[in-house]
């Protein structure tokens, strides 16, 4: 029997998915901003962050209300708990995208960079992984969630290579330009986005199977 308050759970899911899509959009947009040195895109991304923050507060209110008023049991509890963490992670992803946007604007101030190292590739994978994570939540797909856990390593690897190439190439700190330092920040932010996607996937695994796979290894 569908109860009238089950509608609110549906609304919560919808809001979460909306958050996910927004965060993904922000990440994609910001990577284009970085590649094309397009400041307007970067600014757009910074504006979108506010909306995601609002969504996070709304999701949290909904979770609190549902927990208090409707006494959830079973998988509904896991959904609510997972939703809280996923919401936070998505908000952090949006924040990171916003940070990347800021760094991109700083870079473009100094003039476009020719060599973006592996950042574009990292960005692509980061977007794929985030997409996977969101899809695993929407579709309730354990396999996709586990895949996310695996692929996060790729982002970490690319981030390390960015680092090594930048500081290994020159070997000389004075030769590294300020823009490249911003690039490293962007790379780090992308790596964090990947970590957040991994967290999301862990929450999805917990939601679907009840298993707590955090802090593995």
């Amino acid at each position: 029997m569908q109860r009238f308050f089950h509608d609110e759970l549906r609304q919560l899911r919808d809001d979460l998915i909306l958050m996910g899509e927004r965060s993904l959009d922000m990440t994609r947009l910001v990577l284009r901003a970085v590649e094309q040195g397009d400041d307007s895109l970067a600014l757009q991304v910074r504006g979108m962050d506010d909306r995601v923050d609002e969504l996070e507060k709304r999701v949290d209110r909904e979770i609190m209300r549902y927990l208090t008023l409707f006494g959830p049991m079973g998988s509904d509890v896991r959904l609510l708990l997972a939703a809280r963490d996923i919401g936070h992670d998505l908000e952090r992803i949006a924040d990171e995208a916003s940070v990347i946007a800021k760094r991109a604007m700083v870079i473009s101030e100094r003039g476009p960079l020719k060599d973006l190292l592996h950042v574009p590739a990292e960005g692509v994978i980061a977007c794929e992984v985030l997409r996977l994570a969101i899809d695993s939540f929407i579709e309730g797909d354990l396999a996709k969630a586990r895949l996310v856990l695996q692929r996060d390593a790729e982002i970490d690897a690319l981030n390390r290579r960015n680092y090594e190439e930048l500081f290994g190439k020159s070997g000389d700190a004075a030769k590294v330009s300020a823009s490249h330092v911003e690039l490293i920040f962007i790379s780090k932010a992308l790596e964090r986005i990947g970590d957040h996607s991994k967290n999301i996937a862990e929450q999805v695994i917990f939601l679907l199977s009840g298993e707590d796979v955090r802090h593995a290894r």
């Binding site: 609190m64 209300r65 008023l69 006494g71």
Partner: protein, 270 residues
Amino acid sequence: MTPPSTSRIQVRPAAEREGRKDYISIRDYGFWYGQKKALEAISLDIPERQVVAFIGPSGCGKSTLLRNLNRMNDLVDGIRHEGDITINGRSIYDPGLEVISLRRRVGMVFQKSNPFPKSIFENVVYALRVVGVRDRALLEEACETSLRKAALWDEVKDRLDDSALGLSGGQMQRLCIARAIANRPEILLMDEPCSALDPIATGKIEELIHELKEQFTIVIVTHSMQQAARVSDRTAFFYLGKQIEYDTTEKIFMNPSQAQTEAYISGRFG
């Protein structure tokens, strides 16, 4: 904040539904059973088309207050009251107002379902017969409407002439609800309507309340806080005849102002 329901009837959010804010207005109301003071200085306004829940431990006066809204306590000897209760601006203690006509505007559902030993049809249309409606066609139409509203029509439409006592507990209670709303009262009072029912029957009645609040002002007394949290728009917490706190349900259950309320809802009471 509450999304529209996907059930048959579109139920608007509380703020949209709300009509007159002081539809039922209780002002400085006190009530005695003989020497014993059962209610003290109750003041609250129940808005139109909202569900208000009265909660509190046993003996806190919530049922007494409910029964005073349609003056059912007049049947008890030696009662006394002070203060006033008005419905849509008119005092229920107005000497020009006949108690019977008050009770026809206010339907009541009791804890233990009490269908009459008559057929289902006769049970539902009793309120109409009482006011003198004789036309068979009118009665049948009203019966169908009420039973549909009470979500009982599909289950009994083929056996309206069977005895009402042959229904299950949950069906009987829905029949009592149908009977209470048959004459289209404005207000529905429910005194622990689900306490004798199993969870599924309880769920059905809560769904019913959710739909009925689009049309009726509902006051429900319940000893289950969870039920009050689920169905009501506003909640009043009573203790020892006094009104401790009255606010929106979210406020009461998520962040009550009074320490007593907090203690009660978190189970630390008593």
